[in-house]
């Protein structure tokens, strides 16, 4: 064994003994520290997990969505706009859609209703794969597909039929023909899918308008070019591309996570200040201990190495416990502590399973913002004490 390795093993042994002798105090510090790391890591993992899930699911959204705008607000778009897009090269399908919200007073829930001209959907559409059961036909027959949470919320039991109110309070009978795959929960939790005809009937919309158009293109690389052409043809519309929608979700999760991270950072800074205050105010006993160690032959570097090992053991254990706790929190409890912050406080929460996503860069980030400040807060004061002559430390 090399002398350096033996020296550090001796120091580690001394550090572990010292930590064990002050186990109550150190366990307290470690628990508080682990809790802070748990909060930070939970947020990081949950955000990454949600972005990951949304990226997978958003591959199913249309390549382009067109909405008519008037005075900066969205309004119904005429059906004849469709004809003005016919000769744009690269457009595979133009699918009219009615998209709206239905408030269920009985359950106090707000559902998203999406009505499509389903037979106009391109063959490449993944809609069929997202649905368990049948996809509603294009007729006015009340066939619908429900998201898992809506299904549970309606308390249908074994029934497959129920009714929703039209604007004139007459009842529209509906029939559940399928349900959305639970894997798509983040996007379909509160969704009711029906034919365009049924949607028009439910919302009592005039036959010549829809809420927006879904555009599917042959070559995804041309989405931007085609969107620009559409915008030029239909200047009174807003043209949203799939990458833009994906980016929006990332920004929403990123913004919410960032906002929460700032709050957590405050807690982290408070902890660092506490650690610094505790460590920089070395007690006379601790200063004397450093002096005694120097008297019997320890060097400044030995004192620093000792403090380094002590800090590393405490903060490393806290890091491990915090990160593992955060992983379990996201994996087994779907990040339930923070999910409302990231997903919003809507009435219906998606009950999807989020697989925590954590990369080396995330771990490095958390390590840098937690372990490193703690080690600095404990090692630097020890260095300040250990560079003074031992005579001064033991007087």
């Amino acid at each position: 064994m090399t002398p350096i390795l033996e020296r550090h093993l001796n120091l580690l042994d001394y550090a572990l003994t010292s930590l064990w002798r002050r186990r109550l105090k150190n366990a307290g510090i470690m628990m508080v520290f682990a809790a802070v790391i748990f909060l930070v890591a939970s947020f990081q993992m949950l955000t990454r997990g949600l972005i990951d899930v949304s990226e997978k699911i958003l591959t199913e959204v249309p390549d382009i969505v067109i909405q008519k705008m008037s005075a900066g607000r969205q309004e119904a778009i005429p059906l004849d706009y469709r004809e003005r897009l016919d000769d744009i090269f690269g457009i595979l399908k133009v699918v009219p859609r009615i998209w709206g919200y239905y408030f269920d007073e009985t359950n106090g829930a707000n559902y998203t209703v999406m009505a499509l001209e389903l037979d106009a959907m391109p063959a490449s559409s993944q809609l069929g794969r997202a649905v368990i059961g049948e996809v509603p036909s294009n007729n006015l027959n009340g066939g619908i597909v429900l998201g898992q949470t809506v299904l549970g919320n309606l308390h249908l039991g074994g029934r497959r039929t129920f009714s929703l109110f039209r604007p004139d309070l007459s009842l529209k009978p509906l029939r559940v023909v399928g349900e959305f795959n639970p894997a798509t929960e983040i996007m379909t939790a509160d969704l009711i899918l029906m034919s365009l005809a049924d949607g028009r009937d439910l919302f009592d919309m005039p036959p010549e308008v829809v809420t927006d158009y879904c555009i599917y293109v042959a070559n995804p690389a041309e989405v931007g070019t085609i969107a620009r052409k559409i915008a030029a043809r239909l200047p009174d519309t807003r043209v949203l591309t799939k990458p833009q929608i994906q980016k929006t979700y990332q920004v929403i999760f990123g913004w919410r996570s960032g906002f929460a991270s700032i709050c957590l950072l405050t807690a982290l800074v408070a902890f660092a200040i506490l650690a610094w205050d505790k460590a920089s105010g070395l007690s006379p006993e601790e200063k004397r201990e450093i002096g005694i160690l120097k008297v019997i032959g320890w060097q400044t570097s030995d004192i620093l190495a000792l403090r380094f090992w002590e800090s590393l053991v405490v903060s490393g254990l806290a890091f491990l416990v915090g990160c593992l706790g955060a992983y379990g929190h996201v994996l087994f409890f779907s990040g339930s502590l923070f999910r409302p912050i990231l997903l919003g406080w809507s009435v219906i929460h998606p009950s999807l399973t989020i697989i925590p996503v954590i990369g080396g860069d995330d771990l490095l980030l958390i390590f840098t913002f937690t372990v490193v400040p703690y080690m600095a807060a404990t090692v630097i004061p020890a260095w300040r004490s250990s560079i003074v002559p031992p005579e001064a430390a033991i007087k």
Partner: protein, 234 residues
């Protein structure tokens, strides 16, 4: 010659004024000598001991141990000197509170070039037995009396079999029986192992317990070799 002090000077600032704690002190100590430095409280004897032990740097002059000038030694060399060549005994409790008596005694070996071995363990137990602490090996400092803590520190000073023992009021608050036992150990180490002792005390009787001690007197930072009559008058 094992210790040589040349024109040592240590000045402290007190209320904006210079205070010469050690003032132009020169002395030579041969291997195996038992040197007693007498003086009142505040006379500078503890500061002199710190300078000789390399615990503080002098403002002027030099301390030469085994022919090596401490001023020219790096921190690591001074640490090695404190670890291997010098054993310290202080007037206050100088134990690590979180270690047992036995661990405290073994502590200097942790970073010694001769690492702890089963023989070291036996040696530490023997030393604790010699200072009357047999059976207290696993006691923590808080479980020991002030005198017992002092004796653990004495045992620790001898664990590396140092050439020099620097002791500051080593029997200050010990009962007569323990004091006699400690002084007997000092005499044995001095006579048999030829360990050099440099003891600062205000106890003039200490010299009578040792074989041919050299006695110095320190007053206002100035050191002078003294006769036994003066020493006994302290």
């Amino acid at each position: 010659m094992i210790i040589e002090c040349k024109n040592l000077m240590k000045v402290y600032q007190t209320e904006g004024k210079d205070f010469r704690a050690v003032d132009d002190v020169s002395m030579k100590v041969e291997k195996g000598e038992f040197v007693i430095i007498l003086g009142h409280s505040g006379s500078g004897k503890t500061t002199l001991l710190s300078l000789i032990g390399g615990l503080a740097r002098p403002d002027a002059g030099a301390v030469i141990i085994h022919g090596l000038d401490q001023n020219r030694q790096a921190e690591s060399e001074l640490a090695e000197l404190r670890n291997r060549t010098i054993g310290f005994i202080f007037q206050f409790s100088s134990l690590i509170p979180t270690l047992t008596a036995l661990e405290n005694v073994l502590l200097p070996l942790t970073f010694s070039k001769v690492p702890p071995s089963p023989g070291s363990y036996d040696q530490a137990c023997t030393l604790l037995e010699q200072v009357g602490l047999s059976g207290k090996e696993k006691s923590f400092p808080a479980q020991l009396s002030g005198g017992q803590q002092r004796r653990v520190a004495i045992a620790r000073a001898f664990i590396n079999q140092p050439d020099i023992i620097l002791a500051d009021e080593p029997t200050g608050d010990l009962d007569e029986e323990t004091e006699g036992e400690i002084l007997r150990i000092f005499r044995e180490k001095n006579q048999i192992a030829k360990t050099t002792f440099l003891v600062v005390t205000h106890n003039g009787v200490l010299g009578k317990t040792q074989h041919k001690p050299r006695t110095f007197m320190m007053k206002n930072g100035v050191l002078s070799e003294n006769s036994s009559e003066v020493a006994s008058s302290i």
